[in-house]
């Protein structure tokens, strides 16, 4: 059996050390409200990051998630507005709008897999195209302005708390648990690792490689949809400008968490550490009044440092070819 060794928890220890440093230096860092705030902030990107981890482990990638978040929020707001114009009560219109938004978001993800499976278009290319296209659609639908069609109670989803825990954080916990279970305890999870490790061997082992890609990319689209709805609820509007640049922040978190861009290796738990790493650093530096520009430099450097540390402990194949 594997013995737990100190270096296997190196990233966790560094994160802990970072928290201690901020607790001692940054005013208000350890306050419950601030910590809950960190959770709320990381929760939105976090959900997508878990799904992205699975996608990357399977050897694919989805660059469209940032625009997909904006697209979903806009669709949600627009549908709500449209239903209201028919005189449909909001209590009925909003749930239907949620379902339709999630279906639309999943279908978008599914088509990325379809291009891959049917025409061998790399997911990198299709999702890069979607990154631009979805942003365009979001702007077309809104005309560039926010749609504010939501009733006050809708804010609970993204802005509310349950037992003082922010609702998005609850979502994060559920999605984390679900992905931990899928990746480590299901036959499907094994298929994901096998497809990323060697797609041809996986196929010859009787694994339906195409199905794995359909499921994972649809799921990622769906979770981008969920996040888009939460963001819309938080800011009480459907806005085409949200989610800009998220795709790279999410992929950064996945890489910091130790997943290999070559596929086949990575952990959901690692990604959890990755998103908290980024969240804590931004929060701490903001509290310390460190300039936005320095924050960018530090966040970038963190990716490189994390890769070096992951290679050191020999966990990943981040640099494996």
């Amino acid at each position: 059996m594997k013995r737990p060794r100190l270096e296997q928890y190196l990233m966790e220890l560094i994160l802990l050390a970072l928290c201690v440093v901020f607790a001692l230096t940054a005013p208000g860092f350890m306050r419950t409200r601030n910590l809950l705030n960190v959770m709320r902030n990381v929760a939105l990107q976090g959900m997508i990051a878990f799904s992205m981890t699975a996608v990357i482990i399977s050897g694919e990638i989805d660059l469209s998630v940032g625009s997909a978040v904006a697209f979903a929020g806009v669709i949600m707001a627009w549908l709500t507005q449209w239903f209201t114009s028919f005189g449909l009560p909001l209590a009925v219109g909003i749930p239907i709008a949620v379902i339709l938004t999630l279906v639309a978001s999943s279908v978008v993800g599914w088509t990325i897999a379809y291009m891959r499976n049917a025409f061998s278009v790399p997911t990198f290319i299709t999702s890069l195209a979607y990154l631009t296209m979805l942003s365009g659609f979001a702007n077309l639908i809104t005309g560039g302005f926010p749609i504010t069609s939501f009733p006050r109670w809708f804010n609970t989803l993204g802005g509310g708390s349950f037992l003082s825990v922010p609702v998005p954080a609850l979502f994060l916990i559920v999605v984390f648990a679900a992905f931990e279970f899928i990746m480590n305890h299901t036959s499907f999870g094994r298929s994901i690792y096998a497809v990323g490790g060697n797609a041809e061997a996986a196929r010859l082992n009787g694994i339906n490689v195409k199905r794995v890609k359909y499921v994972l990319l649809s799921l990622t689209g769906c979770l981008a949809g969920v996040t888009g709805i939460l963001v819309a609820s938080q800011i009480m509007a459907g806005t085409p400008t949200v989610g800009r640049g998220w795709e790279l922040q999410i992929i950064s978190a996945v890489i910091i968490g130790g997943a290999s861009l070559a596929g086949g290796a990575g952990r959901i738990r690692g990604t959890l550490i990755g998103i908290f790493f980024l969240g804590v650093i931004i929060n701490g530096m903001t509290l310390l009044n460190i300039s936005q520009y320095w924050q960018l430099v530090v966040r970038g450097a963190l990716i490189l440092i994390a890769i070096l540390i992951n290679n050191l402990r020999g966990l990943t194949g981040a640099t494996r070819t």
């Binding site: 094994r190 690792y193 490790g197 061997a201 010859l204 082992n205 009787g206």
Partner: protein, 493 residues
């Protein structure tokens, strides 16, 4: 010009590849070098090409000893080798590829006009009509092979080694290749020609050198010998001990193939396989044997025909579906097709059978571990721990992991593609014993192999595949290896 090999010896851990080889090759002739797998011909050639250092012995050209520390040395001594795997740059033009080793320069800039001229000279000399500006990847494999040879001509060529040059070529392309080889020979170059396709030798070879088990068996002038004689030199007199278990007369048909066709690989293949039966498919490289096996397993599509498992025709076959019907397939190339190299032994041993080791899609790690452990014990896989990464295992152990992985899925028919490639004698015997044990348990096997002695040793029945069609059925024990070999290459006795 004379290339002389004197007392060459090369050993690898556990085996002697070349025992004590002395032979002379004169210029202006094509010298074929033949021998079955493991005869030492590849090692001998690699020593001349500078890719492998001999343990002792010497190689000399016109009584001048050559020091071949690397392939680079060999190239600069005028020894060029064209391997089966081509070393061209597909995105570059024919001219750039031909002149790649020494592109003409004017100052710091490449002189493209001179590059083109030089390439054109070489092509003209070989009587090859191809535009030097053509991109290499737009050429057929046969033409690419010719470009590769033209590239070798560019140097001060003394020895040209051709390693299985015709294995991927069509009939017309082979004829053209031979014309080029003869032109080069007529310039006085020493041509060493390695091929499995004995039937081509009368057309191209001037002499034939036969190796067996690392020793020189003999050398003949092509016009004074026959293919049958060469084959008997290759195999010698060997007795085969057969341990194949008998199969019950009334065993039901486990797998049936009806009129399976996939052009241009194979055509109208029909046979059936009873439970517990071990069926060999013998055929040379390019006979369509691997393609046939892959189509049966649903890994490649086919044009027409039917595969029936236990009497049921399989519609829209895929590996996933055939697995459900109890088929298993161990691929030819275990590294790229059989194993997930970055995963552990346990993971690789439980991949094919992962459905049966889980309940409603939820894994049972205790079961997985037990199943992996059982295969490690049954197949005597040598590992320090189940958590060892499979990449680090020896070829034989990796092959056993591939087999064990499928046994954990409890198949009814196992398709083995070259199960003994690249593994040592002990591991081979163990794989055969596994196949016999499966037979005892009523599990049928199909074995595709170039190792004809092995097929004669292991199988109940052997089908001979040549140029994509089934030629005949052979019952081991009634025929010699030579006869089987002759059937494979289409030479009458």
């Amino acid at each position: 010009m004379v290339l002389e090999l004197k007392n060459l010896r090369k050993t690898y851990p556990g085996t002697v590849a070349v025992t004590d080889l002395s032979v002379r090759f004169e210029g202006g002739k094509v010298h074929a070098i033949v021998g079955k797998n493991g005869s030492g011909k590849s090692t001998a050639i690699k020593m001349v090409a500078g890719a492998v250092m001999p343990d002792r012995g010497s190689i000399s050209l016109d009584d001048r000893p050559l020091h071949l520390g690397s392939t680079f040395d060999a190239i600069h001594q005028g020894i060029a080798t064209v391997y089966q795997e081509l070393s061209l740059f597909p995105d570059l033009s024919v001219a750039e590829n031909i002149c790649f080793h020494e592109l003409p320069h004017r100052g710091v800039r490449v002189d493209w006009a001179a590059t083109r001229r030089r390439a054109l000279d070489v092509l003209r000399e070989l009587d090859l009509e191809v535009d030097p500006d053509t991109r290499v990847d737009s050429l057929s494999v046969g033409w690419q092979q010719l470009v590769e040879i033209s590239k070798a001509i560019n140097h001060d060529l003394k020895v040209l080694i051709l390693d299985e040059p015709t294995s991927a070529l069509s009939k017309d392309e082979v004829d053209q290749l031979f014309r080029v080889v003869r032109r080069i020979r007529d310039r006085g170059v020493i041509v060493l020609y390695i091929s499995h396709r004995l039937q081509e030798l009368p057309a191209i070879a001037d002499t034939v050198t036969v190796l067996r088990d690392g020793d020189l068996v003999g050398r003949r002038t092509m016009t004074e010998t026959t293919l049958a004689q060469i084959v008997s030199m290759m195999f010698g007199d060997v007795e085969h001990v057969r341990m194949t278990p008998t199969i019950p007369e009334q065993a039901e048909v486990a797998l049936e193939v009806r009129n399976l066709t996939r052009k241009p690989w194979f055509e109208d293949i029909s046979f059936s396989l009873r439970a517990g039966e071990i069926l060999g498919i013998a055929g040379m490289l390019g006979s369509g044997r691997t393609e046939l096996l892959r189509s049966i397993f649903g890994a490649d599509s086919f044009d027409s025909g039917t595969v029936l498992v236990s009497g049921k025709p399989i519609r829209r076959p895929t590996p996933a579906r055939l697995k459900l019907y109890g088929l298993a397939y161990t691929p030819e190339n275990r590294k790229t097709q059989g194993l997930i190299q970055i995963q552990t032994v346990q993971e690789n041993l439980t991949l094919a059978g992962k459905q049966s080791l889980s309940r409603r899609g939820v894994r049972n790690r205790t079961l997985e571990r037990a199943a992996a452990m059982q295969q490690v014990n049954d197949l005597s896989i040598k590992i320090s721990s189940l958590d060892t990464v499979v990449e680090t295992l020896s070829g034989g152990n990796q092959q056993k992991v591939v087999v064990g992985n499928w046994l954990n899925d409890h198949p009814r028919v196992v398709l083995f593609d070259e199960p003994s490639r690249g593994i040592d004698v002990d591991a081979k015997q163990q794989i055969f014993r596994i196949i016999w044990r499966l037979s005892d348990d009523g599990i049928a096997s199909i074995i595709v192999s170039t190792e004809l002695e092995e097929l004669l040793e292991v199988c109940h029945r052997i089908l001979v595949l040549r140029d994509g069609t089934l030629q005949q059925e052979i019952v081991p024990g009634t025929v010699s290896v030579e006869a089987l070999y002759n059937a494979c290459i289409g030479v009458a006795q």
